[in-house]
């Protein structure tokens, strides 16, 4: 069997996850997390917090919830079903940080937890920041040229 033939055979016979089911679950779980966020947001707004602070509180709440579920070993069980439903919301970001912190505890709190806490989520912060700085430069030049942003 030639290499090309074999690669074609592998590609053809590779089983993919049940697409409909994963799509449905990611939509449901993602939707539920966002709806929970919205309920919390409206609740915080009722407490006369402004829009921004209410959103920040929602994020904090979801991060703390994720932290507890991750610590108890429940998060990855939910995530197995939910897929992108838990991984695209802020819960996925929080879980990738907290699971790394937990995992590398055996290498100590400085070289393990401290150094490896962003081993998965690091790129998100790096490229998020880089993209925001590029946007900032564009905004800055627009204001220099007398435009409004």
């Amino acid at each position: 069997m030639k290499k090309e033939e074999y690669l074609k055979y592998v590609e053809e016979t590779t089983k993919r996850a049940d697409v409909k089911k994963t799509f449905l679950f990611s939509f449901l779980f993602g939707g539920l997390i966002c709806a929970l966020g919205e309920a919390l947001r409206l609740f915080f707004l009722n407490f006369s917090l402004n829009e921004k602070d209410a959103s920040a509180c929602v994020s904090c709440f979801l991060i703390i919830l994720t932290a507890i579920l991750t610590g108890l070993g429940l998060f990855h069980k939910i995530a197995k079903i939910a897929g992108a439903g838990t991984f695209v919301p802020i819960t996925g970001f929080a879980n990738s940080v907290i699971s790394s912190a937990l995992e590398f505890k055996t290498e100590g709190f400085i070289l393990g937890v401290g150094a490896k806490i962003f081993v998965i989520a690091g790129p998100v912060i790096v490229y998020g920041t880089a993209a925001s700085i590029i946007c900032g430069l564009v905004f800055y030049f627009i204001t220099l040229l007398g435009g409004t942003i």
Binding site: S26, E38, G92, A121, T129, C135
Partner: protein, 121 residues
Amino acid sequence: MEFLVSLIKAFVVGGLICLIGQIILNKTSFPPAKILVGFVVAGVILGAVGVYRPLLKFCGAGAAVPLTGFGNLLSEGVKEAVKKEGFLGIFKGGFSACAVGISVTIVFGLIIALIFKPKRK
């Protein structure tokens, strides 16, 4: 009633954003980190060109909770900082806007690492 409508809006939009993630996850062999970076950068760009704000207004947490919302937060922050502080704002805005989320994540990462042990099941 208004409360319920808001929840449904958040559910549908948030669910759809996650669904896009799942489609990318299933159809490509991108590792999760690449997809997350894609979502954040997309959020930054959508925020910068002004698409995200109306979406946020429409569905609240439905757009804020997914990582694109995190990206939007970064570009909103930069926008405001540039308005207020000019050049220095370029480097200040993003981080200050997402400071709460990241700090809470780090602190809870440490707390959880102190309390729990990783398990197989």
